[in-house]
C-alpha cells in the first residue's frame, strides 16, 4: 500500500514542480506569457463545467441552480465567502 501512495505522490509532484525549473531556465515570448496569463480563467471554466452537474449526480439541475445563485451573488459583488455560503444554502433548500 505504501508503494501505491508513494507512486501516486511522485507522479503528482513531478508535474507540479517541474515548471519551477523550466521558468528559471527559459524566457518566454510575449504571446506565451499572454497564453499563460489566460490559463487561470480557462482552468476556472474547465473546473466549473460540466463538473458542477455532479453535485447531485442523479439530478444535474441541482448543481446548475446552485451555480446560477452563485453567479448572481458574485455579480452583485458579494464577498466570496457569502457566495459560497449562499450556494450551499441554495442546494440545501433545493434538495429538501
Amino acid at each position: 500500500m505504501i508503494w501505491v501512495i508513494i507512486g501516486m505522490a511522485v507522479v503528482t509532484a513531478v508535474p507540479r514542480f517541474l515548471p519551477a525549473f523550466i521558468v528559471d531556465k527559459l524566457n518566454f515570448p510575449a504571446w506565451v506569457d499572454r497564453w499563460l496569463n489566460a490559463i487561470p480563467y480557462a482552468a476556472l471554466g474547465a473546473l466549473i463545467f460540466p463538473g458542477i452537474m455532479t453535485v447531485k449526480p442523479d439530478a444535474p439541475h441541482v448543481g446548475l441552480i446552485g451555480g446560477a445563485v452563485a453567479i448572481a451573488l458574485a455579480w452583485f459583488g458579494l464577498n466570496i465567502i457569502l457566495v459560497v455560503v449562499g450556494a450551499i444554502a441554495t442546494v440545501f433548500l433545493v434538495t429538501l
Partner: protein, 243 residues
C-alpha cells in the same frame, strides 16, 4: 531608522501578508473540510488504515485523485494502473504550475519549489486571481500562508474523516459539495465584470472540456480544455500585458 525598527517593520509586514493569505485561503478551507472528511470515510471503507489515508493526503494532496485512488484500491486494481490514472488526472497541475511559476518568475527557486508542490485546482485559481500580491514585498508569504491553510484543512479533514467517520450529516455534506464550484464562480465573475473577454476564455474552456469528456478521460479533457481555452487569451488578452 535603527536596524531594530526596520526588523520590526519587516516582521509586521510579513505577518500582515500571512494574515491576508489565510483570509484568502479561508473559502478553500470551507470547501475542503467536508470533502476531506468524506475522503477519509471512503478511504477507510476501501481498506486503508488511518495512517495510510492521512499519509496519502500529506504526500499527494490532490482531492479527485485520492478519491479515485481509494476507489481503485477498494476494487483491487493494480499499482501501475492506479499510478498511471493518477498521473493523467493530475497532469493539469503542470499547466497550472507553469502559469503560476511564470507569474512568480522573480522569486527564488527555494520558494518556487515548495509553492509549486502545494498547487491544486483551488490554491492555483485563488492564488492566480490574487496576482497583485506577487509584486508586493513578502508576496511569497501570502501565497505560502494561503497554500498552507488549504493543506492543513485537507490533511486535518482527511484524518478526522478516518478517525471520526461520517460526522457531517448527509444532507449537509451533499449541499457542501457545491462549495468549491461556487468558489470558482466567485473568483471568475469579478474578472469577467472587469474584462468581458475573460468570459470568452472560460466558456471556450468549458465547452472543450465538456465535448472532450464525452470520449476521453476527465483528466485529459480538463488539460485540453485549459490549454486550448487559454490559447484564445493570446489574441484577446493583448491589452492586459502591462497590468
Amino acid at each position: 531608522m535603527e536596524p531594530n525598527a526596520v526588523a520590526v517593520t519587516n516582521q509586521s509586514a510579513r505577518l500582515m501578508m500571512i494574515k491576508r493569505g489565510i483570509a484568502a485561503g479561508f473559502p478553500i478551507m470551507l470547501g475542503y473540510l467536508p470533502i476531506a472528511i468524506t475522503y477519509g470515510v471512503l478511504a477507510r471503507q476501501s481498506g486503508l488504515t488511518n495512517l495510510e489515508l492521512t499519509l496519502m493526503s500529506i504526500l499527494v494532496f490532490a482531492g479527485a485523485a485520492q478519491f479515485m485512488g481509494a476507489n481503485m484500491i477498494a476494487l483491487g486494481t493494480g499499482m501501475v494502473e492506479i499510478v498511471i490514472a493518477t498521473f493523467v488526472l493530475n497532469f493539469r497541475h503542470f499547466v497550472m504550475s507553469l502559469s503560476f511559476m511564470n507569474r512568480l518568475r522573480d522569486i527564488s527557486l527555494k520558494w518556487k519549489v515548495p509553492l509549486s508542490l502545494g498547487l491544486t485546482d483551488e490554491t492555483f485559481t485563488v492564488s492566480s486571481l490574487h496576482n497583485k500580491e506577487a509584486k508586493e514585498p513578502y508576496g511569497t508569504w501570502f501565497y505560502g500562508a494561503l497554500i498552507l491553510t488549504a493543506y492543513i484543512s485537507w490533511v486535518g479533514g482527511s484524518f478526522l474523516g478516518g478517525v471520526l467517520g461520517d460526522v457531517i450529516p448527509d444532507r449537509l455534506s451533499q449541499s457542501m459539495g457545491i462549495a468549491l464550484y461556487a468558489m470558482f464562480i466567485g473568483l471568475l465573475i469579478p474578472s469577467v465584470k472587469k474584462e468581458t473577454k475573460v468570459a470568452l476564455i472560460a466558456i471556450l474552456a468549458m465547452l472543450i472540456n465538456f465535448l472532450f469528456s464525452l470520449f476521453m478521460s476527465d483528466g485529459w479533457a480538463i488539460v485540453l480544455g485549459t490549454i486550448i481555452g487559454g490559447s484564445c487569451g493570446i489574441f484577446v488578452l493583448k491589452g492586459e500585458e502591462e497590468q
